[in-house]
Point group: C2
Chain length 222, copies 2
DNA sequence: TGTCAACTGTCAGAGGCTGTCACTAGCCTC
DNA sequence: GAGGCTAGTGACAGCCTCTGACAGTTGACA
């Protein structure tokens, strides 16, 4: 913390953020007005908009951290790994280390409730999907560079990333509506779903009495 | 067309829709106000909101048709096909028959420009992704029923549909920014991308021919 | 033709968001 | 350490989307 001015600013931003998230998760995003948030922090509505581009921007403050965290993880993967391996290990690593990256801004518990709130609020859910699309575009470029291909002529980078992202989203969706809403649970769910993509895509599920339902049982991964 | 009243209503809705789309594609979605649309049709702003839930609703009028068209196509696939086959043939069929399904509402050319406008407008792009997520949920249930599995315990239906949808989206994205913006082009692009998913997922792109990581690789069916 | 219901316009207002302007408080220099 | 500078803020006005309420108009139908 540098000057007094900066400390004051930081405190205001922090108060606005926490108050906003707290109100969003308790009484719902749509039923929370900017006036209300500003009033609780005892600043003018105008000031809220000086710190956040809008209500939505406040809601996505923490998710933004996890996105950056994930992108950084991908960037750090050793180049020998196949694209799919690199992506898989990146998400896994991210889920392992995200908690402490968040804790310095807001309590992890508040983050988890925010996450669920986003998933349950149509307007925010849509915004989230768009953000993910943007993140995927960035990651596709990283993968393309690693592999030494041109993302504008070779569709493979965008394809792997998009397919991988789709699986992640199905896992996260399941997670957000389920009961065990812990970071351990999402790790297992993600690993399990990634293992099941192959079988799910390959051929006929009904054929062969061998494996009627090889599905739902998640095997705890390494 | 039945009564005079119904004809009048239809004419108003039609005028509002076309005027809205025309303005959206020419001067941009964000720079078009509801007041402006209403003024051109010479109705009150309030009337616009009686016909459309909002600006966004008007923008998605035609895309809604194509979504329904696609879902119907999936529903009609013969049950012997594998899930992936059914999905692939459904999109292909949809693109073959969508033009005439649209033409009775708005000119196909206007639809195509609207499509591009949605893809280029962040707010609409987000809404589009959310709509697709909802459509995918519906299709996953259709697939689950065909295959006789429970979508709430078996993740495979949602996985195939999500992965398939991801590929489609990459193809459509490429289409929307490319030069050849015809329905023929999107058909070829879709087919091509679907064929490339397998190779893209499988192993190491740099190593020639061999497949060091056969793990998650699905065998792309016809 | 008169009644009823549907459709519309007008008005008022909430809520998100932006521009402007003046004022205060921290910062920095002399 | 006094005064100038500027970042940060509040107050106000205004635009735009969207909704509710009420009254007027116009087609439907007996």
């Amino acid at each position: 913390m540098e000057t007094l001015r900066e400390r004051k600013k930081q405190r205001t931003r922090d108060a606005l953020l926490r108050t906003a998230l707290e109100l969003f998760v308790t009484q719902g995003y749509e039923h929370t007005t900017v006036d209300e948030i500003a009033a609780r922090v005892d600043v003018s509505q105008r000031t809220f908009f000086r710190y956040f581009a809008g209500k939505e921007d406040a809601a996505f403050f923490v998710p933004r951290l996890t996105e950056e965290h994930y992108v950084e993880a991908v960037r750090r993967r050793p180049p020998e790994e196949t694209p799919l391996d690199a992506l898989r290990r990146s998400v896994m690593d991210s889920w392992d280390t995200i908690e402490q990256a968040i804790e310095s801004y807001v309590p992890v518990e508040l983050f988890l409730r925010t996450y669920k709130m986003i998933e349950a609020t149509p307007a925010l859910f849509a915004a989230r999907l768009r953000r993910q699309a943007e993140t995927e575009e960035e990651i596709a470029r990283i993968i393309a560079e690693r592999e030494g291909v041109d993302p504008d002529t070779d569709p493979r980078p965008r394809l792997v990333v998009a397919v991988f992202g789709a699986v992640i989203r199905v896992a996260e969706r399941h997670w957000s509506v389920g009961e065990d809403f812990s970071t351990t649970a999402i790790r297992e769910l993600t690993a399990s779903y990634l293992d099941q993509v192959g079988p799910a895509l390959a051929g006929n599920w009904r054929a062969g009495g061998t494996r009627p339902h090889p599905a739902a049982a998640p095997s705890t991964p390494a």
